[in-house]
């Protein structure tokens, strides 16, 4: 019987919704699947369009470009929704629409 990945609750402040996000799913994937119009462009950590503030919780980040999220931004509590997989329940706020 296949194991189901653990799921966490992710609150997206911009739309005031809380959705389920599996541990092997990115925040962006879960948001799009839930019908949320989360801003994104490349969805693979290259452009930074989905840059978000991590208001609460922990994430594991998939590979990305330096230009999309640098160490200073990460230290300041920012993350990329397209690269972030939850490691706890989360609260995030996307920072804008359109590319950077």
């Amino acid at each position: 019987m296949p194991r189901t990945a653990r799921s966490y609750r992710v609150t997206i402040a911009n739309v005031g919704r809380t959705i389920d996000c599996a541990a092997n799913q990115t925040v962006l994937e879960a948001a799009v699947a839930a019908g949320i119009d989360f801003p994104y462009t490349c969805a693979t950590g290259n452009c930074g369009t989905c840059c978000s503030r991590l208001d609460a919780g922990k994430v594991a980040l998939l590979p990305r470009s330096d230009a999309a999220l640098g160490p200073q931004q990460k230290k300041a509590g920012l993350t990329l929704a397209c690269r972030a997989r939850p490691r706890s329940d989360l609260a995030v706020t996307w920072l804008g629409r359109g590319g950077r």
Binding site: C42, T44, T49, S65, D66, A68
Partner: protein
């Protein structure tokens, strides 16, 4: 002469050769193939691109300008991507040629299959694949679509030559098969050319 001097000279010669080809023949499948062969030959001179001369990515991927021409010319870069780095299918809007210096990077090629009638929606299907490794390269026309993925445990280092410098790129279209969507990044051309 230092390695950097030799590298600069070799890159300048490459761009001169590229201009000599494109100025007389334009950008066609055969000229792109010729450019690819020239870039593969330059990438084969790995001693010109010692890792110590280029900062590794802080996160996972980084482009180092090698010689970017003024006056809206081409852009030549050394791209370093760490294991696992990927890019969804995308269309640069401008031709490009890549050649591997070290490591392995999988390039998959796609074609768009929807009728473009629904803004923001798109479907693509894979039509080819190339594994970029030392001694190999690939070339794409203006609106070809490709995805990339670093394979294995070593960084993928490659030379990338674009029709425009990255700072003057047109809008890039990103396709997302899982979402059935397409999203475009803003063009940098107007701001860069102002």
């Amino acid at each position: 002469m230092t390695v950097a001097d030799k590298r600069n000279r070799a890159c300048a010669k490459l761009l001169a050769d590229v201009h000599a080809i494109t100025a007389t023949e334009g950008i066609t499948p055969s000229t792109l193939h010729a450019l690819k062969l020239k870039l593969v030959a330059l990438a084969g001179k790995a001693a010109l691109f010692p890792p110590a001369d280029f900062a590794m990515p802080l996160a996972e991927g980084r482009n180092h300008p090698l010689l970017v021409e003024d006056n809206d010319g081409h852009g030549l870069y050394l791209a370093i991507s760490l294991p696992g780095k990927e890019a969804a299918p995308h269309d640069h809007g401008i031709w490009c040629v890549n050649a591997s210096v070290s490591g392995r990077e999988r390039h998959r090629f796609f074609r768009r299959t929807d009728d473009l009638s629904r803004p923001g929606h798109a479907t693509v299907e894979q039509v080819g694949e190339v594994m970029l490794a030392p001694g190999t390269g690939m070339a794409m026309a203006d609106h070809d679509i490709h995805s990339t993925e670093v394979v294995g445990d070593d960084p993928a280092v490659s030379l990338a030559l674009y029709g425009y410098a990255l700072a003057r790129f047109p809008s890039v279209a990103w396709y997302h098969p899982r979402f059935g969507s397409v999203r475009t990044s803003p063009s940098r051309r107007h701001a860069a050319m102002a």
